[in-house]
């Protein structure tokens, strides 16, 4: 009989490689897994037909047309900034959709991928990163289609979308970070509290109204603005518009607020994720 009492001392543990090398290897594996998951997600998300991807364009298009019609033809209003109505609306609709889908896809990341999570190198965090990156890439393509479409059908010049290129890119990277943060938190909440997914479905409606898709913080009366400024998504949209729309610069948003909020979400989400991992938590399939 082999006596293994006091195993910690008796078994010789393997000497680890230098920590930098191990970190590099871990990073390479994570990227391998995230890349494989992105391809897999892109094939399964809308079923196998490519028509499914049409929905990614149709949904914001329908919302654009409705809001455009309501504000221009029925209420006879101009956008609250110097931009044209479709440009103003799209810079609100697309980032909001990306935010909303990050929360939703983050929430179901673990429960809808339980078979994959049995591969030891696939972690919940990889699934979340892959989903948000795929969503961001899809949104970028949809945005380009809108920009080109409006140029040829509506005569909207490309320059209507570019103010300072560098700050524009920074605001979009900020959006990506913001979406990662809320997706990681959303996943953590949903794993310990599955009704979260449905609750967010209800929360997202008032969020849609207060996030500034069809107004700027500046155009609100003072009282309403104080409440809208509690919503980090409103700050995010205002940041993107300030950076991308020529001639619009808002005094009412705070980049620090957006990034702090995203970082707090990310850290709480990572902590829940880590605690569940250490405890050996098994996710139940939805």
């Amino acid at each position: 009989m082999v006596d293994l009492a006091g195993g910690w001392d008796r078994l010789k543990r393997p000497t680890p490689n230098s920590s930098m090398r191990r970190f590099g290897e871990a990073l390479a594996i994570t990227w391998q897994v995230v890349f494989a998951l992105m391809i897999r997600e892109s094939r399964t998300r809308y079923g196998k037909s490519d028509i499914g991807y049409l929905w990614a364009i149709l949904e914001p298009l329908i919302q654009l047309l409705i809001l455009w019609a309501v504000f221009t033809f029925m209420m006879g209003r101009h956008p609250p900034v110097a931009a044209s109505m479709p440009v103003f609306l799209i810079t609100g609709i697309l980032p909001f959709f990306l935010f909303r889908s990050s929360v939703a896809r983050g929430a179901s990341a673990a429960s809808s991928n339980t078979p994959l999570l049995t591969y030891p190198q696939v972690k919940v965090l990889d699934v979340i990163i892959a989903r948000v990156l795929l969503d961001a890439a899809t949104t970028l393509v949809v945005a380009l289609i809108f920009i080109v479409g409006l140029k040829f059908l509506y005569g909207e010049p490309f320059t209507s979308w570019i103010d300072h290129p560098l700050s524009g890119v920074m605001s979009l990277l900020g959006l990506l970070y913001f979406c990662m943060g809320v997706a990681v938190l959303s996943s953590g909440i949903n794993r310990v509290f599955p009704p979260w997914q449905d609750i967010f479905g209800y929360v997202s409606r008032p969020l849609w109204i207060t996030s500034g898709i069809f107004f700027t913080l500046d155009s609100l009366p003072h009282g309403a603005r104080q409440y809208a400024k509690l919503n980090p998504v409103a700050h995010m949209l205002e940041w993107i518009r300030s950076a991308c729309l020529p001639g619009f610069e808002s005094d009412h948003y705070s980049v620090v607020f957006v990034l702090t909020f995203a970082t707090i979400c990310l850290f709480i989400g990572l902590f829940i994720n880590w605690a569940l991992f250490v405890a050996g938590f098994s996710d139940e399939a939805s």
């Binding site: 195993g7 078994l11 494989a36 391809i39 079923g47 196998k48 049995t118 591969y119």
Partner: protein
């Protein structure tokens, strides 16, 4: 090489947690194949899943050097809406393998032909098993985990499974459970007994079998 340090695992039961593994410490050195004996519900599958990394322990640590397979006998995790080839590509990517090589090997071995391009949900369970077994042979694991059964398919295909696996055993180790002590004798040079959540390792299969008969009687 795999080392287990003080592994604990429990599941939620109706009247409180059920402690399946109670502090298991064991060493599975390179070049040694080990059988695990235990009654029904002793936690053999749980132990194998934790060794494979398919499931996470509640407490303790697993150290793995080299790649460890998922428990063979269960089919690997495939996405039903994707084709056999697409599933192979995904698994090849996460294991850092050349997916063309893997696909060619599995298509040839598993005799799936044109079905490789069809969604896996249209496969019979036999086809899925052949795909999973072929995939596990395409990846060069240093340790193979076998839960109960190895060979799949009809008699001819089972012979093919055994042949390729015997060749693979020249360079890979095995950690396995089986109802058949003959199969464990064939594959393993030593065995352990899992009883009441504790694992006792023996230097030979015979000693382990004797101990197992004594505790399970």
């Amino acid at each position: 090489m795999i080392q287990l340090y003080d592994i604990e695992k429990s599941y939620r039961g109706k009247s409180g947690p059920i402690r399946v593994l109670r502090g298991i410490t064991a060493d599975f050195p390179k070049g040694v194949s080990t059988g695990i004996l235990g009654g029904n519900g002793a936690g053999k599958s749980t132990l194998l899943r934790i060794i494979a990394g398919s499931e996470r322990q509640n407490y303790g640590e697993v150290v793995r050097q080299g790649s460890v397979s998922w428990p063979l006998g269960f089919s690997a995790s495939f996405a039903g809406s994707l084709s056999g080839a697409e599933n192979l590509r995904f698994v090849s990517r996460i294991y850092g393998m050349d997916h063309q090589q893997v696909t060619d090997f599995v298509a040839d071995f598993a005799e799936l032909g044109k079905a490789m391009k069809e969604p896996v949900k249209t496969y019979s369970s036999g086809m899925r098993q052949r795909l999973a077994f072929g995939l596990s042979m395409a990846i060069d694991f240093s340790v193979y985990i076998i839960d109960e059964s190895l060979a799949v398919g009809d008699a001819a295909f089972q012979a093919k499974c055994n042949a390729i696996f015997n060749e693979r055993r020249q360079r890979s180790d095995v950690i396995m459970t089986s109802h058949s002590i003959e199969m464990i004798r064939e594959y393993c040079s030593r065995a352990a007994v899992l009883h009441k959540g504790e694992l006792t390792m023996f230097d030979t299969v015979d000693e382990a079998h004797e101990h197992y008969m004594r505790v399970s009687a």
